[in-house]
């Protein structure tokens, strides 16, 4: 049998073709627009969305140019608050997930690759972590450190690294005895290089998916904790907080909670699309 030949098209063409996927375009547009708006919020709305216009309380959306998305019960502009509120929400969402991924991935890699004592210590630690009630942990944590944005993020990292560690460990376990890892070992590649060059690139797929899901989760989690007084100062607008504030007006003024909800949804949708695309993009076997 003669060899199977594959045409090697130009690199630029491959890139263009793969960037043309709907997933990438939609995901990138949504994410970039969201982050851009939030970063520019200080310029667009210098008052930080705090300006009250009590004469225009509960204005419905799409009625005036002054309040395109309407106002809340205190007469604050919903659009301004959504844009400004994104700051807290996105900071909490991204940083908490990023931190937990880094910690969890390292732990999972070590536990799965070295097994033995390390595995036992780390995984028992994880079991304890999972067994503790979340709210109890949150209350204890704020009691000790006090409630502010950074403590909230730190707390989420502590509560969530376990998920990533377990997923990572499972991937590593299925990889560590594969032949390509053994063959790397057979010619003397050191452990750190095996972990970074061979295990990690083959194992992060599930973590990537978990990450995009958890960003949304943590944006909502921030609001519940804030609602319980365990999170950020409730006077600072955040998507989760607005959602909670608007719930008593859901019958009469749906826009107060629907627009921050929409913001969360679009962000998460964008991230999920990007995540899916990134996973396929980084997998050489899926390249057409």
């Amino acid at each position: 049998m003669s060899t199977v030949e594959i045409e090697a098209p130009g690199t630029v063409r491959i890139w263009l073709r793969r960037l043309r996927s709907l997933e990438f375009i939609l995901g990138a547009v949504l994410t970039v627009a969201m982050i851009g708006l939030v970063l520019a919020s200080g310029l667009i709305f210098p008052d930080g969305g705090d300006a009250m216009d009590l004469t225009a309380r509960l204005t419905p959306p799409f009625q005036s140019w002054a309040h395109p998305l309407g106002t809340d019960p205190l007469g604050r502009d919903v659009l301004a608050r959504v844009v400004v509120g994104g700051k807290i929400s996105l900071t909490v969402g991204f940083l908490s997930v990023l931190g937990a991924v880094v910690v969890g991935t390292v732990m999972g890699l070590v536990a799965g690759y070295y097994r033995g004592v390390w595995d036992m210590i780390l995984m028992r630690f994880a079991d304890v972590q999972l067994a503790l009630p979340f709210i109890l942990l949150a209350i204890t944590f704020t009691a000790i450190l006090g409630a502010d944005l950074w403590n909230l993020i730190l707390f989420m990292i502590i509560a969530q690294w376990v998920q990533y560690a377990r997923v990572m460990r499972a991937s590593v376990l299925s990889l560590r005895d594969r032949e390509f890892i053994q063959s790397a070992r057979s010619f003397g590649v050191r452990d750190l290089r095996i972990l970074l060059h061979h295990i990690l690139p083959n194992a992060y797929g599930p973590v990537l998916i978990l990450m995009t899901l958890n960003v949304a989760n943590n944006i909502l989690l921030e609001s519940s904790l804030t609602f319980l007084g365990l999170g950020v100062d409730p006077m600072i607008p955040s998507w989760g907080g607005m959602l909670a504030d608007g719930r008593s007006y859901l019958q009469t003024a749906w826009w107060v909670s629907v627009f921050p909800g929409l913001a969360i949804m679009l962000t998460v949708l964008g991230l999920n699309l990007l995540g899916d695309w990134l996973r396929d993009f980084l997998d050489p076997t899926s390249k057409a």
Binding site: M1, T3, S183
Partner: protein, 620 residues
């Protein structure tokens, strides 16, 4: 072939099967016609990608489940009830009535085709209840009778066992029993013995033949192994790239092949006994297919490369055991005695073949030498230095001098790294070169040496065929100029024509670089072609060790004789002598304290050592 013969049980006419892909439909089988007569065996032979398995699936329309489509052609089958059905157009209900009942199928992997959570008895009776409408108790009785029929000992107790408690050969017999439960008129066997050891393969083939005689079942036998074809077939269809290139009675195909592909295929098949009288391994020119024509490459060369003055590697009383079961207090109760007191030398430029069936411990020996596991006892010396006495740096250095090529070229390359990276990795690991340009040049040079092109370095492993990937693995093994290469079943997973090319490449590299090989394999025919000396392993111990010619032409140990007798030879006039071949390979698991009896070896001729067979240590 024109009109179907009136007595054909199955007539396939102009069958074309397509699979939709992103780049338009892929035609897996094109315009294929053949007939199967009642009680006869038709072998469909071809290499990977030839469409032989798709053909077998298409007959039962199982291609529907694989997203395939029969674009044209007919599959005419004569069921028991009379008349003729065209399976290519039949309805779902008709197909279900035919599948399993009239046409049964057995697959390559007996482990994955049995459901692990049900007992053997449950699974066989399920098929009987389903197709024959009898009660459960009746079905169970029938199941026991079937197990007896496929020559499984102790059938009554076997019914309550789970698949994982059976050996591979036993599982395949269970599969055959299930397939025969409805007394089908046609049995389709897709590579049913490929995953089995040769002695077990011989037994299974024998069982299928006997059952066929008894029940008058017609058989379609899909295989890539020309030796198996001559054992089983009355007629042969040779497939190449989805098309039939030649068909005819088995003798005619083997004695007077007409199509160039058939000739190339037959020329590439290693034949046991082809080296009789030759003291040294020899390279032969190869006939390779290029498009539709053949071309001859390489030259005939005697492989006189070995230098017997000082051994490169000495293995002395190597023992490796694995603890597998402990009491609650941590005391070991059972151990796998993988390797027991194995000793041999490898000399510079020499190929030593380590032969044995699964569970013989041959791979464990290789892994111990490569430091992939720590032996329980014994000594390994490389160029006179004992491994145990080496410093960490020296041991690392040894991983440069000894390289390991694994069996599966698909699994031993990192799918996420480009081929160039994989080949450069040993160089980077040992810091042999630091200049990026120089490394790149070296990678290109290595690719060139193994017959690939420099631009291949930028591609990923999945873009290559199996043979190309094994070449990449060889290039990687060569990258830091090793002295010894351990090839663990490195050609077993490849098609015969590719296998012959890789074997030639290994021998050519040996001559050019004075490489030594430890060639670990179960394939006696390949061993005969490549090796200077042969060591036969059985249950963790060497039972025979000597020059290849002595071991092959004058085997002394009963196990060596059995192993040689079990190899199917691609010659329709020579069939396996099945009287020699009975029994399973015993388990190497023993209770703690129950040490296996060690063989005593005697030298029957210069350099030819054989284990003494006493009544106690006798192997079957």
């Amino acid at each position: 072939m024109s009109a179907a013969p009136a007595d054909a049980l199955l007539s396939v006419r102009s069958l074309t099967v397509e699979f939709p892909t992103d780049n338009g439909p892929f035609t897996a089988v094109e315009n294929l016609s053949f007939d199967v007569e009642p009680g006869k065996t038709l072998a469909i032979v071809g290499e990977s990608g030839s469409g032989k398995s798709v053909t077998s699936l298409a007959v039962l329309r199982l291609t529907d489940y694989a997203n395939g489509r029969i674009r044209s052609g007919s599959i005419l089958f004569k069921p028991r009830s009379g008349g003729v059905i065209d399976l290519a157009k039949a309805s779902g209900d008709t197909l279900r009535a035919v599948r399993g009942n009239e046409i049964a199928m057995i697959f390559q992997e007996p482990m994955t085709s049995l459901n692990p959570v049900f007992t053997i008895g449950d699974q066989i009776s399920e098929a009987i209840v389903l197709h024959q409408g009898v009660g459960v108790r009746e079905a169970r009785r029938e199941a026991k009778a079937l197990l007896d029929k496929v020559r499984l000992p102790d059938a009554g107790r076997l019914l309550d066992r789970f698949p994982h408690q059976l050996s591979g050969g036993m599982r395949q017999r269970v599969m055959i029993a299930m397939a025969l439960s409805c007394r089908p008129k046609l049995l389709i066997a897709d590579e049913p013995t490929t995953a089995l050891d040769v002695t077990i393969q011989a037994q299974i083939l024998n069982t299928v033949r006997e059952l066929q005689r008894e029940m008058g079942t017609a058989v379609i036998f899909i295989t890539h192994d020309m030796g198996v074809v001559t054992e089983m077939a009355d007629d042969v269809v040779v497939m190449y790239r989805g098309r039939k290139v030649e068909a005819g009675p088995v003798r005619q195909i083997f004695s007077a092949p007409r199509h160039p592909y058939t000739r190339a295929l037959l020329a590439a098949v290693p034949r046991l006994g082809s080296m009789t009288g030759e003291p040294l391994p020899k390279r032969f020119p190869l006939v390779v297919m290029e498009g539709e024509a053949t071309r001859s490459t390489g030259e005939e060369r005697v492989q006189d490369t070995a230098d017997y003055s000082r051994p490169l590697l000495a293995v002395d009383k190597l023992t490796t055991r694995f603890d597998i079961a402990r009491t609650a207090l941590g005391r070991v109760t059972h151990r796998v005695h993988a390797v027991e007191q194995v000793s041999f030398d490898i000399f510079p430029g020499e190929t030593l073949a380590l032969v044995g069936e699964s569970g013989s411990g041959k791979s464990t020996v290789g892994r111990a030498i490569q430091q992939l596991l720590t032996p329980t006892g014994g000594e390994i010396r490389f160029e006179g230095r004992a491994l145990a006495a080496m410093s960490a740096a020296e041991r690392r250095r040894l991983k440069r001098d000894i390289q390991y090529i694994f069996q599966d070229p698909f699994a031993s390359l990192d799918p996420r790294q480009k081929v160039g990276f994989s080949i450069a990795e040993p160089i980077l690991t040992h810091g042999l070169m630091t200049d990026r340009k120089a490394i790149e040049r070296r990678v290109h040079e290595l690719l060139d040496q193994v017959g690939l092109r420099p631009e291949h370095a930028r591609r990923y492993p999945h873009e290559f065929s199996g043979g190309q990937r094994q070449r990449i693995c060889i290039a990687r093994a060569l990258s830091c100029d090793p002295k010894l290469i351990i090839a663990d079943e490195s050609v077993s997973a490849l098609d015969v024509s590719i296998q012959a090319q890789i074997v030639n490449l290994l021998m050519e590299l040996q001559e050019r670089r004075r490489l030594s090989y430890l060639f670990i394999t179960h394939d006696m025919a390949v061993v005969e072609k490549v090796s200077h000396r042969v060591a036969v392993m059985y249950l963790g111990q060497i039972v025979e060790l000597g020059p290849r010619r002595a071991v092959f032409e004058d085997p002394r140990h009963s196990y060596t004789k059995k192993l040689l007798a079990a190899v199917p030879i691609p010659d329709p006039d020579r069939r396996i002598d099945t009287r020699l071949i009975t029994g399973e390979i015993p388990s190497p698991i023993r209770a703690a304290g129950d040490e296996p009896a060690l063989h005593r070896h005697v030298e029957v001729a210069p350099g030819h050592w054989v284990a003494v067979e006493t009544a106690g240590s006798r192997t079957p």
